[in-house]
Symmetry: C2
Subunit: 689 residues, 2 copies
Amino acid sequence: MDVNLIYLAIMTGLLAIIGAVTIAIWLAGRSSGPKKIQEISKEIQKGAVTFLNKEYEVLIIFVVVIMMILMIGETHYGKIEQYSWIAFGMGALLSALAGNIGMRVATMANGKTTYAAERSLMHGLQTAFSSGAIMGLTVSGLGLLGVATMFLLVGESHIEALYAFGFGASSIALFARLGGGIYTKAADVGADLVGKIEAGIPEDDPRNPAGIADNVGDNVGDVAGMGADLFESYVDAIIAAMALGAAMAVVKARQPFTPEDDDMLVRLMGDVSITGDQAMILPLLLTSVGILSSIVGILAVYGLKGGKSPRTALLSGTVVGAIMMGLLSIPVITMYIGEFVSELYIALMAGLLAGMAIGFSTDYFTSEERSPTKHIAKSATTGAGTVIISGFAVGLLSTAIPVVVICIAILISFEVAGLYGIALAAMGMLSTLGVTLAIDTYGPVADNAQGIAEMAGRGKVARQRTEELDAVGNTTAAIGKGFAIGSAALAALALYSTFQSVSGIDHIDLAEANVTVGLFLGALMPFIFSAMAMNSVGKAAMSIVDEVRRQFREIPGLMEGKAKPDTERCVAIATKSSLREMVLPTIIVIVMPLAIGYWSLEALGGFLAGSLVSGLLLAIFMSNAGGAWDNAKKYVEAGNLGGKGSDAHKAAVVGDTVGDPLKDTAGPSLNILIKLMSIVALVFLPFFV
Amino acid sequence: MDVNLIYLAIMTGLLAIIGAVTIAIWLAGRSSGPKKIQEISKEIQKGAVTFLNKEYEVLIIFVVVIMMILMIGETHYGKIEQYSWIAFGMGALLSALAGNIGMRVATMANGKTTYAAERSLMHGLQTAFSSGAIMGLTVSGLGLLGVATMFLLVGESHIEALYAFGFGASSIALFARLGGGIYTKAADVGADLVGKIEAGIPEDDPRNPAGIADNVGDNVGDVAGMGADLFESYVDAIIAAMALGAAMAVVKARQPFTPEDDDMLVRLMGDVSITGDQAMILPLLLTSVGILSSIVGILAVYGLKGGKSPRTALLSGTVVGAIMMGLLSIPVITMYIGEFVSELYIALMAGLLAGMAIGFSTDYFTSEERSPTKHIAKSATTGAGTVIISGFAVGLLSTAIPVVVICIAILISFEVAGLYGIALAAMGMLSTLGVTLAIDTYGPVADNAQGIAEMAGRGKVARQRTEELDAVGNTTAAIGKGFAIGSAALAALALYSTFQSVSGIDHIDLAEANVTVGLFLGALMPFIFSAMAMNSVGKAAMSIVDEVRRQFREIPGLMEGKAKPDTERCVAIATKSSLREMVLPTIIVIVMPLAIGYWSLEALGGFLAGSLVSGLLLAIFMSNAGGAWDNAKKYVEAGNLGGKGSDAHKAAVVGDTVGDPLKDTAGPSLNILIKLMSIVALVFLPFFV
């Protein structure tokens, strides 16, 4: 195996991080604006750090316990792959690091964005996008760096230890997505219910004790959560491809080589004929190409600043990144393999194009400029009931294109390059993560910048411009959510392919009762998990509501603006209750695949397939219905159908309220659920065989 | 084969019908009350007949087209089993007949119930229950009669023709559930939106032009729809068991008998050793036992009239029926096989008990006396948004028990008696349909009786008593819905087992890309189908709204009560638009499995499994969320949390509005979807092999 190429991947990972640092230095040099902006920005940052620190207190225990379990499983039972516990720790550490950096940068950039927008729209755009670019490059850089380094450390013979790296990343992602999702909606509901409705003060009013917690929540959920989610998908796809390469090497080396081995080889790789080493290294090289393409995409956004609308500038980044990936991977495949293996390229591109198609489908179903959302807004004129029904139907219908697109990607990639092809498709979809995540992260920063403009009482220009930036962010955020779900599904499918090939069971036959039962139980998991997440939001929100009411009642002069609210306490309560609420779902998600696997390995195969398919459908439904309700409300607020304060607006607000926990808590957590259960199955597989 | 036993089954079927006729004669002799009640009752009956006649106009074309396709498939391509077209026609005819009789009886009984309730609560109960008993006995009698007669006609060698009998029943069920579901909710929304909200007149006011259509709708959806749905499940379960018996006979007769044949035999029957003839006849005998048990259960309801509450009287019918089935099937199995084959009995009982467990789970999650619904009602105090969120979460969570119960039933029945065991479990769940359907049908009749008491302006006693009867009906209706979903799932699973064994494919391997793609696409179907159904309700409702508005505007003196509304026109419009709206979903449901099967038989296996699992989960979710919202509203209306007219009540009404199309249109239609796609796959299977 050519170790130099692994070093090359590590260097590319470092290059991405250097790029991130460069942008961070530039960003740090931007003015933080007047004192009032700085104060609020600091408070949000402090709240975010408070959340992260509290989260780490719980996380560290969780991580240490799992590491010990893995270590005991290795040394005592000989069932867990060597180095797994280190890999787990490393995966958790890097994911947490990426999230931490992303959060700090985003909360630093929001005030700067407000101030920059006062000077010009493009300055604001650049500032917000810079924090996104830092996040995108950090996540993809640390992802590649981590996987490549771990691979160097454990070597080909212990490649199964890489699953634990993914497991570590998964755990952090669950904390960020589920815990963060509960936090953000609890704070939001708490702030709105008492502040806006009971006390009658406007949104983002500085007198609202939960206002800061609400803004912290945007960063916790949309920045740290999205980052950790995609970090996990990113490394899972690479790991799955490498593991399948290793599995192929084992089959190829068999002596004597039976016809069954040949069948297995076709299932693993289709008609592609490359060596096992090549199959293991190629994912690292293609990921490196993806990082370079992302950097070009990011530069394109900066370059296009003159004369273009913010929306065009951002979307062109995605397109340029994808085109670069399409172009650069041709010579890289050709040079490395010695000839252009079109099958590998086709699989990669199938995923890349599928990701874009899912993004555009999401945009269609949730954008306020398209008919589905306009239809929901129109149904607001006949009351809240019809808003919910029409949004519900739009959400259900919106599952069609993503599922069909994923099916096409599966068929093409499997046809050309077997299970390895499916993993390549997942990698293809995620390859340009550096730039796609940059654009995703832009959204919450722009959202916060708008909130700060409000809270700091900035002038009309600042408000108008930050609102415009925020509107663009809504579109890109919706696309990002669709992309996150699609890539989670493909990454989980890649892990599932790995599970199929390394579990040693010849088939997961739906004609067997235990597989069918596994399928039913697996499909049930996302339903129960979502129900728990939604109930948790309700409970956590109630503790915020109580606290905000208490402050309005007990702090003299608060309503008159003479005294300051105790925002820190709200942050602390939201943090504590969100972390408490995620304990039970986490245990269920980890224990269920273990219990099913212990009972029957075939049932586990059905279980994972069931959770994948129902998780994907529910996640798309929830995310798109939520996005469409959100934008239908915005559409009415923009002055249509009676505008703000009309009956239609009140009805549309109900839709938005319903959509919030669906699109920001339950839906995104399902991305983690489907990957986490697959990776748990892989890590603990030797116990079941 | 002992043909006498088939005659015995036919006799039992006839016995059930004689029982139904006896009760009908008794019911016809009951007073129809004063003229006003008779008038309204007649109008509802006329509306129901109008719907049925219009439906038949479309149906007859549909049925003839399919019969021709089957005939061409048989004679021209030699791919469709002989006699299939006759069986299809017979299945459609008997299902339509059962629905027609049930509707006519129910609409005849509602006015009589109102009048009987004025005399005493128990008289009212008996009258309403009698119409249910007629429905229950007719459906189960015609079901057994039809299957047994067809079997006698086509013989063992053409047993596959029975699938077409199920297909015929399925088609009618789809028209009744989907078309009926769209009709009932469109009429309901139309009546409420213009009548209650715009014109400000109370519910069931005689001035409302859509009032009759609304009452017709209850019968169309809840009587004809429920009846056709369960008729289908009932015959599907019997047919699946008989077909598996025939498959076993073929395997047993193989010369030479290979180890693979032995494996196949174990998969088909477990360790049960009975002859193929016995396996084919036993389902008919056990169904006969079920009919006798149901008759005893029905008599128990009449017998318990003194001193017991209506709820206890009704529920004891189910319990007595189940106990009788448990007792009587022991000697029947023993006498027929020659020894007591406990495996067969265990499989049967697993289904019977699972059905009851699902019923009780449904009751728990939707009854206004239990905490989930009370919790939803409480969340109404913080607005419509929280009502929807908490109901959504309750609905998601409520999927757990039914799915786990079905899994246990699958595992037990498969363990003891293979795929045949699963079919027996489905039969066990449905065996006492005579009495369970009687209790289900009681609900809508009591509901109508209450509406008539209102419209006819009867005294306080009549209103109070019919309301009490209606409240009991709500509980039993919820239990009935859960039972309908559970039995549809088990019946579909039995058909799926048949598909597995007769398709000749050795496995439906999730490790193959086309099976995975099939699974994804299958799971997608219920989502798209539900979305279409919900949109259809919206469109059909709008045409009613326009018509009601027109009548209020154009008929002079209508609001003052001086002129009569043109209720017939509303019925005609609701009928026409509901039938128009169901064309596209019907085509999709029939064409999709054909397309997938044409592409790949393995993919079809995945497709059916996917649609079954996601259809089951969505159906339970929709049905229970809808039921819980409905009862949460009723809980508030009973004077809790501020009672009628409070803000909490307004919020609870939104929940009810949202729940309606879920629980009465989309959810129940999914029962048909999962069965219909399986049966289409079976009928057209020879084209794909």
